[in-house]
């Protein structure tokens, strides 16, 4: 094992070894020479010298031990004794080690994630000087990525003095062809200083040079290590190759090192040159702070500068604030809180496990009172006995810790598999590294010491040593009290976890019970992005869509087919304003989602038509413009008047031909998240939309009779028939719902698992206390029964002993759960952190578990034969 080698190097064991050899060889040779002088033959002299020296290997071993562990004898004896004692009570050993393995394993697994995500710095040089510069929403500042508009960025870049260099970047998904199957790749467009800010170089080739974003020079791309391995066979000659991005030939100029995955999930980087146009983009901005400038100073300067930037002061000043935050903070912000919640929860599990084992230690110490008394009577000092007992608990905890490491090794990948994709930022590698192992064993030793101390003191109390005088029968006093306290604490901690998990579960159910406004079952979606290069006009795009739609409707098992440019619960949508006709005015700030859909879309998605008609194939470019509005649009805009026949326009200054007539009203749907308010939407027919921007990204929607996945292959081949160069992303709407609920699901599942562990552990604890109290009171129970107490009353007595413990735990736990609920508040959807139903059920579950745990000891008491008891006790 590595650490032994390390230890060996540390103390220069090789020198030790050589010295020892030399010393012993000298002895044998000196004896040999003396033997020869005394007249022996050389062979006999050697034999005699070697025989008299004894077993050289063994002696060398023992000498080395003496050198390495000065007090190995004392500690070793304790250790051997501890192991022997554990082996004599295998039941205790197995239960205690398993319980601890569970507790320490869960903690180790969570710590390995926390360690690599929260504690490890970003993989860039001097990461402490990297900052994220943006307008942050004042409310909920950690869940929304801040950004800066292009106009402001250019101005900021020109005028700021606090940062050595700044850069901005934005998602730019592209279709990669010319390297295997067409691939929709997670591209990021970055200003050319991006890599300079991060001080990161390419592993092969180079990064961007200034002005490489300008038209004519910008046909270059840098690929990630993963993409390079997946698509270019890790061939260094990939640099210099020409691939097509959205159909445009681009030269690969560099391959980034494996650790460079920024922003999260990036597969390739393209140069970005900012051009101010009709539409302003807002993107995240990063910067490297100058030496000698503090973060506060930079933020102060940015706040001052922000008020004179072109866009910022005019828009939403009360909602946003100029802020400068550490890049690492920003990157881990979405996962920090869930991870801290896990850390807390898992610490509770460990505390319960430890309390459990402390209880077991107490119970075992009680059964060893005789042994301890004898040893004390023979002159063992109290300190000596405590040391012995502590060694035993340390051995137990360390064995539990070893089990925990094994468990963590098995569990961590499963835990990560449950985690939503976005939960693990910047491509960190998570595993059991040295730090984690040290953590696990440190934790074992610490808890073993803390939780072994009380039982050791308790077991060696002087009054217990009088035990011998009592002939082996004792009353039960303080030990019972300590055990009760431990069990009450266990139940309380378990209740906190159970309530927390219950709240999250209720919240998840609330989210899943939201009516999204469409029917997600049996819906398959296929998304295609059409590049400008091959599809330069809206007409060409529409031709593609029409051709695919026609072929899809003939697939067996498909009930309805439609298309929409941005699917609900997808990655993005287009929102905007519009103008109204007939004396109606759009309320200030009112915006609507503007999906472009095919006639079959509403039927395929299962969106209800409330009045009017759906689109038809006749709503084409030569027919009058029409729209369908959602319920909330109809209600808000025309205030109870019939919306059918009213007119709106998507143009800022509509001409006579720009008016679109409302022909139908459909139900509202949740556009981005199930937890959002329903989004007002204005639908336009596919054949009447002329801007390529609204058409290039299109999702085909198919409602099938059953098992939507079954038709996935035929859909792929149909789209390939129409255009073999475009990658297709296929998913079901159920996948989409899983996607948007992944974070809540993950939290609820992990906390649920922890709380189940907690409840089981505290059940074991309750059982242990009740069982041992029944065992200790066997004699008393026997006397009661002999005096005429009924079996029933004995059972009642046992249950009565349990319920106050559980009840006290539940009460204390409820107070803790109220506090914990406050921490969870941000994760809860339409569930109050004080939800009485959740609190009540959690309490009932624990009380039920308590009674169940008491039933076995109660049954034992019930079946006691007083005659047997009184004769043998």
């Amino acid at each position: 094992m590595a650490w032994i080698d390390r230890l060996r190097n540390l103390i220069g064991n090789d020198d030790l070894e050589r010295g020892l050899d030399e010393e012993m060889r000298f002895h044998i040779e000196a004896r040999m020479e003396d033997n020869i002088k005394a007249g022996m033959s050389p062979a006999a002299a050697r034999d005699n010298a070697v025989r008299r020296f004894g077993n050289r290997t063994l002696l060398k071993e023992r000498t080395r031990d003496a050198d390495l562990f000065p007090s190995v004898d004392a500690f070793g004896r304790d250790l051997r004794y501890a192991l022997r004692t554990l082996l004599t009570t295998p039941g205790f050993a197995v239960v205690a080690i398993l319980v601890l393995a569970l507790g320490i394993g869960a903690n180790t697994a969570v710590f390995s994630i926390v360690s690599s995500v929260l504690l490890r710095p970003l993989p860039f040089p001097e990461p402490g000087r990297l900052f994220f510069i943006s307008y942050q929403p004042r409310a909920n500042p950690f869940f929304e990525q801040g950004s800066m508009s292009d106009e402001d960025y250019l101005e900021f870049e020109r005028r700021q003095r606090e940062f050595e260099s700044v850069a901005t970047y934005g998602n730019n998904p592209v279709t990669l062809t010319g390297a295997g199957e067409p691939l929709r790749a997670a591209g990021v467009a970055v200003t050319t200083d991006f890599f300079h800010v991060l001080r990161s170089n390419a592993a092969i080739g180079r990064t961007f040079v200034p002005a490489e974003g300008e038209p004519g020079r910008n046909a270059v791309v840098i690929v990630s290590d993963k993409l390079w391995r997946d698509r270019f066979g890790a061939d260094p000659r990939a640099v210099g190759r020409v691939v097509r991005l959205d159909g445009i030939p681009c030269t690969i100029i560099g391959v980034m090192p494996p650790k460079f995955i920024f922003p999260a999930g990036a597969e390739l980087w393209t140069p970005l040159e900012i051009h101010l146009g009709h539409n302003s983009w807002a993107r995240p901005v990063i910067g490297r702070l100058r030496q000698g400038v503090s973060a506060q100073g930079a933020e102060f300067a940015f706040k001052a500068l922000a008020s004179s930037l072109p866009i910022y002061p005019n828009a939403h000043r009360s909602e946003y604030e100029a802020s400068v935050r550490g890049l690492h903070d920003r990157v881990v912000a979405p996962v920090r809180k869930p991870l801290l919640v896990f850390t807390g929860a898992v610490a509770f599990v460990l505390l319960i496990a430890c309390a459990n084992v402390a209880n077991l230690l107490l119970i075992r110490a009680a059964s060893r009172r005789h042994e301890i008394s004898v040893r004390a009577a023979l002159g063992a000092s109290r300190w000596r006995l405590i040391r012995q007992l502590l060694t035993e608990s340390l051995v137990t905890f360390v064995l539990g810790g070893a089990g925990g490491v094994l468990l963590a090794k098995a569990v961590t990948p499963a835990l990560l598999a449950l985690a939503p994709a976005a939960a693990i930022p910047h491509g960190v590698e998570i595993g059991l590294d040295f730090r984690v192992i040290v953590f696990a064993f440190g934790l074992s030793l610490l808890t073993g010491f803390l939780f072994g101390l009380a039982p050791a003191f308790q077991a060696t109390r002087r009054d217990l040593r009088l035990h011998l005088a009592e002939g082996g029968r004792t009353s039960t006093g303080g030990r019972q009290k300590l055990r009760s306290v431990l069990v009450v604490a266990e139940v309380a901690l378990a209740l906190v976890l159970l309530t927390g998990a219950g709240l999250l579960l209720r919240s998840l159910r609330q989210i899943l019970s939201v009516n999204p406004g469409f029917q997600p079952r049996n819906v398959l979606t296929a998304t295609v992005d059409l590049p400008d290069s091959a599809y330069s006009t809206a007409a060409k795009m529409r031709a593609f869509h029409q051709s695919v739609l026609a072929k899809l409707s003939s697939v067996a098992g498909v009930q309805a087919v439609g298309a929409v440019n941005w699917i609900p619960l997808g990655q993005a949508d287009i929102r905007g304003t519009f103008e109204m006709d007939g004396g109606y005015r759009r309320p200030p700030g009112f915006m609507a989602v503007k999906p472009v859909v095919s006639p079959g879309y509403f039927r395929a998605m299962g969106i209800r038509l409330l009045s009017g008609r759906a689109f038809s194939d006749h709503d084409n470019g030569s027919a009058p413009g029409v729209v369908i509005v959602s319920k909330s649009v109809a209600r808000t805009l025309w205030r109870g008047d019939d919306p059918l026949g009213r007119r709106i326009s998507m143009e800022d200054k509509p001409g006579p031909g720009d008016w679109l007539t409302v022909v139908g009203v459909v139900d509202d749907i949740r556009q981005e998240q199930l937890t959002d308010q329903p989004s007002p939407a204005i639908y336009q027919p596919l054949l009447q939309v002329g801007q390529p921007f609204f058409l290039s990204h299109m999702t085909f929607v198919l409602r099938t009779a059953s098992r939507p996945r079954a038709v996935a292959t035929s859909i792929r081949s149909i789209i390939r028939q129409v255009d073999a160069d475009e990658p297709v992303q296929i998913a079901s709407m159920d996948d989409a719902i899983l996607g948007v609920t992944a974070a809540s699901r993950f939290l609820a599942q992990v906390l649920g698992a922890f709380s189940i562990m907690a409840v089981l552990l505290s059940a074991i604890g309750l059982y242990g206390v009740v069982a041992s109290s029944v065992a200790e009171r066997t004699r008393e129970i026997g006397i009661r029964m002999a005096m005429g107490a009924s079996n029933r009353s004995v059972v009642r007595m046992v249950i009565r002993r349990t319920l106050p413990l559980a009840g006290a735990g539940v009460l204390i736990g409820a107070a803790g759960a109220l506090a914990a609920g406050r921490v969870l508040r941000t994760f809860l959807f339409e569930v109050a952190p004080t939800d009485p139903l959740t609190f009540g059920s959690a309490a009932l579950v624990l009380l039920g578990v308590a009674v169940a745990a008491a039933l076995i000891p109660a049954w034992r008491a019930y079946t006691l034969d007083p005659v047997v008891v009184l004769r043998y006790q």
Partner: protein, 111 residues
């Protein structure tokens, strides 16, 4: 370090080594073996190698000091000498030994 108080046999070996080094000054392991043999008229013959774990243990405990030196026939050998702590330990061990032999005497020849 009271670790070996109860182990009479080991205690005896410690006692012999400490006494030898205190009387004769620095010696190597083989020299100690020879001295014990001669001084006891060959009555005490140790398993010679078992001396080394004891020497190293006592060095770790601070009773002895070890250093390399040249032997009589000019070879490298490790020499041990007694330290102040070693002398205190020697006094203690001698007292223990006296008590033990006295006690055993009493049992063997009751007054």
């Amino acid at each position: 370090m009271p670790a070996h108080k109860n182990d009479r046999l080991q205690g005896t070996l410690d006692l012999l080594v400490l006494r030898t080094l205190d009387t004769c000054g620095p010696m190597h392991g083989y020299g100690i073996t020879l001295h014990v043999e001669q001084a006891s008229d060959n009555a005490l013959r140790l398993e010679e190698g078992s001396l080394y774990p004891a020497l190293h243990r006592m060095t770790q405990a601070g009773w002895l000091r070890a250093e390399w030196g040249a032997s009589e026939n000019n070879r490298r050998a490790r020499y041990y000498s007694i330290t102040a702590a070693g002398r205190r330990q020697l006094a203690q061990e001698e007292k223990n030994w006296a008590q033990l032999t006295e006690a055993v005497q009493k049992v063997l020849r009751p007054a």
